[in-house]
């Protein structure tokens, strides 16, 4: 109870108008308390936007005053007659809630990060879009322009060597970041970056488009920062901290690649062992074959995949991890269900919206009726009727407002569903990484086997000639060298495959846990929200029912 009183006191300061009571209990708790249990928001980790939990206890002191508080507001017909401004006032207070919650959302990620590492903290804000001109080198005279965004990072992670950073980046830089991460962290569930949306940028109003993009970027970087592995990546750190041009290669250096992958492959692999991060050359095999540059490799891998599917015998190296296959299937099912629920959630939100709107229009119609009857009243019965209508109008307008707020909160909660659709995209990408890495291994194994059989044949042929066959022996030596290098490539590929498998496994565990927590909090939030608003709406109508009880049959 103490908690409640303090909460109410705090919030009384925040809102000056009479709407305070109404908006007071409407500040929903959008982000889950960290330990997953319903704690009162005295939680030191929850920050500025105050949360009020809708109490299960009906003797809530905050509840009962509210009808009384709001009614005086309606005692003058004028306040009823200008419902737009009344509603606007409420909407504004909600807007400020929303901004807070947007912050909370990005805090969400940092808070969830907090749950795993108690003192680590990274928060990214994007603001201040500026228009800049394309520098020299542009073919178009006069140059094209683009927008840059100010990216501010607050962190206490040790790798950053600092607590606050500001850089300017354009969207293209984000694409680069995303590409680099996808290459270096195959097998992880990497958040999907925002669309390039070329069409939208032409069609939408520029301000809207820039704002939409700003929000999307903020969300995206927030998700990267929330990922336990990616937040520590050099790519992200460099992106967030280094001023000026982003020091990440725009595409992997493939200028030196020749179409003949078999010749290039050994040279690249002679360079090093480690396949993670660092120089682009070493992990060539650890990269999926890229279109246009790796044609031969692509053809070989394609042939291998055909052999896998249609060949008479099973390939020598296959996906054997039953647990993984089961999980994969389950996730496919899950993806479908999520998509379905997400769709239904959208139409639920639309219908809630419509309900609120129509209720509001009904209220307005009764406001007009009240005014009319009051002005034209000749009989006492008319005055009584007008008084009844006023009550109905008041309640309807209030209920309409409550529906609108309920809906806004519902959107926030059910948004999790949409988010997980994005997560599933990332999961599918990670699974593709695994599949293509496996294919690379299989291809190399096939090559090795064919090389070895060629060597055998040559040896057999050569042994028949007395004293040996110079040219054949030379050939055998060459092939043996190729085999050795291919063997190394294969080992590298296998190591990469195993690495991706490990990544998959860890990520699946993380997904399970996070999914459980996220959905649980979504359900709670949704349910508490619905129950809370339903109660408020019930109270509103009960007042009117009481006032009109004299007419009951």
């Amino acid at each position: 109870m103490m908690g409640y009183e303090n909460q109410g006191y705090e919030e009384a300061h925040l809102f000056a108008s009479k709407e305070e009571m109404a908006s007071l209990v409407l500040n929903e708790d959008p982000s889950p308390p960290l330990n997953g249990s319903q704690s009162f928001p005295d939680d030191p980790l929850s920050s500025s936007p105050p949360y009020v939990e809708i109490p299960t206890d009906d003797t809530d002191p905050l509840h009962s005053p509210s009808p009384n508080q709001v009614l005086p507001n309606h005692s003058s017909i004028n306040s009823i007659l200008e419902p737009p401004s009344y509603a606007d006032a409420i909407f504004q207070s909600f807007d400020s809630d929303y901004v807070d919650s947007a912050e909370v959302n990005s805090q969400d990620q940092s808070l969830s990060a907090l749950s795993s590492l108690s003192s680590d903290y990274i928060k990214i804000c994007i603001s201040d879009p500026q228009r800049e001109q394309e520098q020299s080198g542009s073919l178009v005279p006069g140059g094209s322009s683009y927008f840059t965004y100010l990216i501010t990072t607050f962190t206490n992670l040790p790798e950053f060597n600092g607590t606050e950073f500001n850089v300017r980046r354009r969207f293209r830089d984000v694409v680069t970041l995303s590409d680099r991460i996808s290459e270096s962290y195959r097998g992880l569930f990497i958040p999907i970056r925002p669309d390039k949306s070329v069409v939208e940028s032409q069609v939408m109003q520029q301000n809207e488009f820039v704002e939409q993009r700003r929000m999307a970027l903020e969300k995206y970087l927030g998700r990267l920062a929330a990922h336990p592995v990616l937040r520590r990546s050099e790519e992200l750190r460099v992106f967030l901290t280094v001023s000026g041009k982003v020091p990440l290669a725009r595409t992997t250096d493939v200028a030196s690649r020749m179409l003949d992958g078999a010749v290039r492959l050994p040279k690249q692999l002679l360079g090093g062992e480690s396949a993670v991060g660092g120089a682009a050359e070493v992990s060539e095999v650890a990269q999926p074959a890229k279109g246009g540059r790796d044609l031969l490799r692509i053809f070989r891998e394609l042939r291998q995949s055909v052999v896998n599917d249609w060949g008479a015998t099973k390939p020598p190296f296959i996906e054997e991890d039953k647990e993984f296959l089961e999980k994969k299937e389950k996730l496919q099912d899950f993806e479908q269900q999520i998509s379905n629920v997400s769709q239904q959630a959208e139409s639920l939100v639309k219908n809630q919206h419509d309900m609120g709107e129509t209720m509001g229009q009904l209220g307005l119609a009764f406001v007009k009726l009240t005014k009319f009857e009051t002005e034209e009243a000749i009989y006492d019965s008319q005055r009584a009727c007008a008084a009844d209508m006023k009550n109905v109008a008041t309640a309807a307008v209030k209920a309409s407002r409550l529906y609108r707020e309920l809906n806004a909160q519902t959107v926030k909660h059910l948004d999790k569903l949409h988010e997980y659709l994005g997560v599933m995209l990332a999961v599918n990408n990670a699974f593709s990484d695994r599949t293509s890495a496996l294919l690379t291994v299989q291809t190399l194994l096939s090559e090795l086997s064919s090389l070895n059989s060629r060597i055998e044949k040559l040896e057999a042929a050569s042994s028949k000639i007395f004293g040996g066959d110079r040219s054949r022996i030379r050939k055998i030596e060459e092939l043996r060298e190729t085999v050795r290098v291919t063997e190394e490539a294969k080992n590298c590929a296998v190591r990469e495959y195993e690495r991706i498998k490990e990544n998959n496994k860890n990520e699946l565990e993380r997904l399970d846990k996070e999914r459980h927590d996220d959905f649980l909090s979504m359900l709670k939030g949704f349910v508490v929200n619905q129950a809370g608003y339903a109660e408020k709406i019930a109270n509103t109508w009960e007042t009117v029912a009481e006032e009109t009880i004299g007419y009951a049959k």
Binding site: N340, V341, E376, N391, V392, L520, V527, A534, E535, T548
Partner: protein
């Protein structure tokens, strides 16, 4: 009929309980029930059971049941409108030619309720309840009813066209000056003008409120459907998810489906107990407009007679001077006209007096009926919202156990 009545009342006195009839308050209640589809195809119609319970002496018995159809109600309304000028005749539900064919259960129920309200309003109106036509309607067998009905259709067919004309006059926007004719004669009574304006504007306002009330009903249905679909989808997700969270989803889905049903029920309740009463009053106002037209009619008729009488007087004096043989006849006609003039004046004044009483009664009735409708509306919404809150709250303990696992 009189003999029957007397014997009816006589027999009633004998069959009455030991308490004398005068100590029991007179009552007349009617219920319209049991709609049944009759006939086939284009000629199909709905018949209703009309049950009358009364202790009025003219009614030959405490209870009577007859079968009536919509056109019988129309007949009753037309007869009352013709005979009781000045009184606001209760409105009938619309004559629909299209929906009738579909005969949806909801349409039938709405119509039945409106007809029930119609007859009861007549039965509780101190003047209308004495009407002989009402007695015919409530007591006559079906053949008699059909005969009466077909007799009247010829006379009343013109009515809609007449009323249209009169409405135009009442609104008085199209000026006959344009056509070169004088403006039709109208009362110049500012109070009455105000009342007329009130009626017209009230109709507009109520029609708008009713429109939104109808939409609100639809919204309830749509939200209900949406919750049902959502619930099903969530249940599927729950079974895919498995473990305690999956169960939580499944329960959420189940609750959604339950709430969907509640919403559908409230939609129906809202329709019958809030939207229909509003619609009923819109119709009532239209009926009042018809009475307004009747008053204008009576006024014009009275004025025209006045004019005619004046001219007749002039004629008469001319004839007196010329000592024509036609004088006697003309004098007779003149006296007749004067009597007619008195009659039309009396009729007009009756209408005015009745209308004044009716307006007061209308306002009182409206306050009560609207009050009931508002109460039902608020009760329904409160009840619905409460069940929604309860349903969602009941999930919370289950979600608690999930998080601890």
């Amino acid at each position: 009929m009189n003999a029957l009545q007397r014997s009816g009342s006589g027999s009633m006195a004998q069959t009455q309980s030991p308490r004398s009839p005068s100590s029991q308050a007179p009552y007349l209640t009617v219920s319209v029930t049991d709609p049944a589809k009759m006939g086939n195809g284009v000629q199909a119609y709905i018949s209703y059971k009309v049950i009358t319970k009364t202790n009025f002496p003219e009614y030959q018995g405490p209870e009577k049941i007859v079968i009536r159809r919509y056109s019988d109600f129309v007949w009753l309304r037309d007869r009352l409108f013709e005979k009781y000028k000045g009184i606001f005749i209760p409105p009938l539900p619309e004559k629909s030619t299209v929906e009738k064919f579909r005969f949806s259960a909801e349409f039938i129920e709405m119509r039945r309720q409106a007809l029930d309200v119609f007859v009861n309003r007549i039965a509780s109106h101190h003047e209308l309840q004495q009407s002989e036509d009402l007695r015919t309607f409530l007591l006559a067998d079906e053949q008699t009813m059909e005969r009466s009905r077909s007799q009247e259709t010829g006379i009343f067919k013109k009515k809609p066209a007449d009323l249209m004309q009169i409405f135009k006059d009442v609104q008085s926007k199209v000026s006959d000056v344009v056509l070169g004719k004088e403006k039709p004669v109208e009362e110049s009574n500012p109070e009455y003008e105000k009342q007329k304006n009130y009626i017209f504007q009230l109709e507009d306002h109520l029609a708008e409120a009713q429109k939104h009330a109808y939409r609100l009903v639809k919204r309830h249905r749509e939200l209900g459907q949406s919750l049902s679909d959502f619930g099903k989808a969530v249940k599927l997700l729950g079974s895919c998810e498995g473990n305690s969270l999956g169960k939580a989803f499944s329960e959420l889905g189940a609750k959604s489906e339950i709430l969907s049903i509640k919403l559908q029920r409230e939609a129906h309740h809202l329709l019958m107990n809030f939207e229909e009463p509003l619609k009923d009053y819109v119709r009532a106002l239209q009926s009042i407009k018809a009475t307004i037209a009747e008053r204008a009619n009576a006024f014009r008729h009275h004025c025209e007679l006045g004019e005619t009488i004046k001219f007749k007087e002039i004629d008469l004096n001319k004839l007196r001077l010329t000592r024509s043989e036609k004088l006697a006849e003309a004098e007779r006609e003149y006296e007749q006209l004067k009597a007619d003039g008195e009659e039309s004046k009396r009729k007009f004044e009756t209408i005015v007096k009745l209308m004044n009483e009716e307006i007061a009664r209308f306002q009182e009735q409206k306050t009560i009926d609207m009050g009931v409708a508002f109460h039902e509306f608020a009760k329904g919404q409160a009840h619905l919202a409460k069940s929604i809150a309860e349903a969602w709250r009941s999930l919370l303990p289950k979600l608690e156990t999930c998080s601890s696992s």
